[in-house]
Symmetry: D2
């Protein structure tokens, strides 16, 4: 006797551009949206009974249809409307809407910012995830793939040495990462402006990253996560994923040159991968 | 008061080639390995105390050092040795070793298979994940990104229609996916040959995929998952992730042509995303 | 006074699946097609005069409309029909149609090959490029991204050493590449079956690659290219692009182990990049 | 009798980070460098004679060794030193050094810009290509993959309609592209500051893109290219490659909604691909 232990389905990568061209200057919102639902959908799987199976094509249509009326403010608000809509379907226990926002800024020109031309601000992707269940909603905001680097005040010392350890202790290593962070808002977020809050948390992350002395990537996660919780009562929890993108000092001695922490080879693989969740205590 | 709720770290994408050239013909193993550990590493994060922080560089070295002696059979066995080694470290509660095997086959030539030349068999990546804890080990094997397609006996009918539904019912749609599956071995696996078992499960997946009438991607997951559990007592559970890579019928009527299920546009996004876990019942 | 020195435009990545389901077993063709035209299109650029500007959307439609009737044999033949069609437009001096064929094979099952299920054969992409001009047509066929490796009989010795040379001479290095080759057919191809010819040239490439002693990637290109020209009078010229994907011996001495050409780290970047064209002499 | 018609080889994707940490604030240069040489290297290919074959590993070492002393100003200058060095080798007829510059900016914090922390400015990649031959050097600078969009004043009308044309004329289409441009400096560049010039040309590109009424992507290339030549006497020629990344209006009528140029689906493939070179006339 086999059992459907767990199931989830939905539509991934719905690409939506909303151009508000009745306004001057034009406004632009560029999103990639995933919708995923979980629930008591067993008959869809085990019986081939589609009566409960909201088509993923319908999910896609819904995103476009809702965008005209409901996509007017922060992406978190749009995610909320969508997540509640899908969670209300029969047998649906939870609906999760994940949004990537690709940010565009008005194009700088000799005459100031253009009213109808844009360039993409690609330093990072802003993310938002809203999950609706019968218990309520959870709202997360985040940043994905922001490349950051510390060229000073990054050390890695005092780690254990076994038969396979060759890494020297370092006082002044380069620490580079592609920062991905996602934070969950708590009750205190009610009434807040999600756009302002996103910007504020982003600034805290940069500020804490730049400001601290790092003993390890692990320690940096804690420092940055704690700073977010301390400065932003709206945030209950933050998760970070930091690949440690190694930069190795090039041995220039065969060429008769010193290399005092100046010339490095940047590498993509392998990389350290450090993840943690820091939450507000009780 | 903030809390380190969860943490995990390790080394990702350690690229290892083992060429056994003392043998005739040569043998080749090409792996990408991730090592991740979880445990009571709080002081590493919150105190910057690295005394418990096994360096990820040491993890990488260990992989290469162990490869010479221990990488002699199936990748699951190598994963087992590595996972147990890392799980034995202080404060480590679990160590997970994930391996991608890139398969090479001896190159076909006029004179038969070459003894020292290979071509990569790229239809899919074989995966293995071994997790070691104080309770024992869990071994999973899998397939990633195998592109498969059903051109017959794939329907999608009887799904609910709401205000946003436009998808017509289909009796003969193209069903294409990039199949990713991962199955967990149970007690019955002891003494089994992991390579033979991998091949056998793979054959079952293909056989079930080709053989069944599909009512939906969801139903196909169930059919394939159940087949694996029924034919392979060594498997306790299987998880599948199936993107539904849509192929839309091109409207040729503007060009005065019929199109009876023959000419399609293949799309990459958006896609349906269907996931489920099927397990052996009690 | 500025001049439009050169121009080219077209549609890229038209994704086409043709499923011939009236046949038993089903047949499947999966192509990605690029169309590019060059010609006296200056007014389109300099005057904004679109009267000569065949829309790239029309190119896309044409590909789908032609597929129903004309995509019946080798991709080279389909490319020929398309290239001649586009080259016949006003002001068009040349039309180039480039096709990637994604190969699918019937799915193996317990009962033999499935009639209506397929898996993608992903070892390489088959390519074809047809260029039509008023002078006639040029037909090229090719292979892209076939991963191949020599574990024996690959050396690199006797190269010059300057102040920046540290690479040791090697007698038994691993030589791995992602082979891309493109060959141009000459007059002798008339009446040939392009599918059989593609397979035959592909076999020659593998055979020559496996069979020879390599003095360098450069020397291997010559050996393989010459073999193709010698065995296939239909081919006038062959161009190859071979990244040298380095595999570096891991230094296991810190761990008290020898490493006699057995354990390697596979790398992606940097890589050597060797390209050459070998043609039939007069 | 077969002939080596053409050959080129070198090292691709040498990843170099230079961190000037003796300065306050720190300075950072992050480059990916390709070196390619062409010349009379036939014996390397046809005879397996490596006496003329400068190892690509030596090229890589040279890049790192030169970086310490010579990477002090604009990337064009570094490319020049490298290209001349490689062009001086025996039998080398031309040496081309292509550099991607990944731009980092000092991290903004509460206390101003950090002296030792950076974030990557990822809107585009700055490129430079220097080619040295016995005749002299050619210097090109460029921009790669800058996403830009016009939401106003972009039309496509008056194009020819044949049996396969379905595209409606458009007065207010969205025009989005991933702009890649490369411009060649002429004699007038001597004494110029390559960094300032790069910024100035980049501003002209944005300014012209934002400012003009577009009749087609082709016409936009001409407008932008001409603006660069008119404003920058240092530039002799500019080549642009502009994919036309289509945004299709979503049909909301099934949902009882109008869609007056507001809600679009963003697509990745197929795309129009428009390329041209505009040069200064005589």
């Amino acid at each position: 006797m086999n059992v459907l232990e767990w199931n989830r389905y939905g539509k991934a990568r719905v690409r939506l551009l909303k151009a508000r061209r009745a306004r001057q200057p034009h406004e632009l919102v560029d999103l990639t949206i995933d919708v995923q639902v979980e629930g008591a959908f067993e008959p869809v799987y085990t019986e081939g009974d589609n009566r409960l199976c909201l088509a993923t094509d319908t999910m896609k249509n819904t995103v476009y249809a809702f965008a005209r009326e409901h996509l007017v403010g922060p992406v978190e608000s749009f995610g909320l409307v969508l997540a509640r809509h899908f969670a209300a379907f029969d047998q649906c226990e939870s609906a999760r809407v994940s949004i990537d926002e690709h940010r565009w800024v008005r194009m700088p020109t000799d005459d100031g910012e253009a009213p109808d031309a844009f360039l993409r601000s690609a330093d990072f992707t802003r993310t938002a995830t809203v999950t609706a269940t019968s218990d309520g909603v959870a709202i997360e905001a985040g940043i994905r793939d922001l490349a950051v680097m510390k060229t000073g005040r990054s050390a890695f010392r005092g780690f254990p040495r076994d038969d396979y350890t060759t890494l020297p202790e370092a006082d002044d290593r380069i620490m580079a990462t592609l920062l991905t962070a996602s934070w969950r808002y708590g009750e205190a977020v009610h009434g807040a402006n999600f756009d302002e809050l996103f910007d504020a948390v982003g600034e805290t992350i940069l500020d804490a990253f730049a400001d601290h002395d790092s003993a390890s990537v692990q320690a940096s996660i804690w420092v940055v996560g704690r700073a977010v919780l301390e400065r932003h009562p709206e945030v209950d929890e933050i998760r970070m994923t930091l690949p440690n993108l190694h930069h190795w000092l090039v041995d220039l001695s065969p060429f008769g040159q010193p290399n005092e922490g100046e010339i490095f080879v940047a590498t993509r693989e392998p990389f350290g991968l450090i993840e943690a969740t820091v939450r507000r205590g009780d």
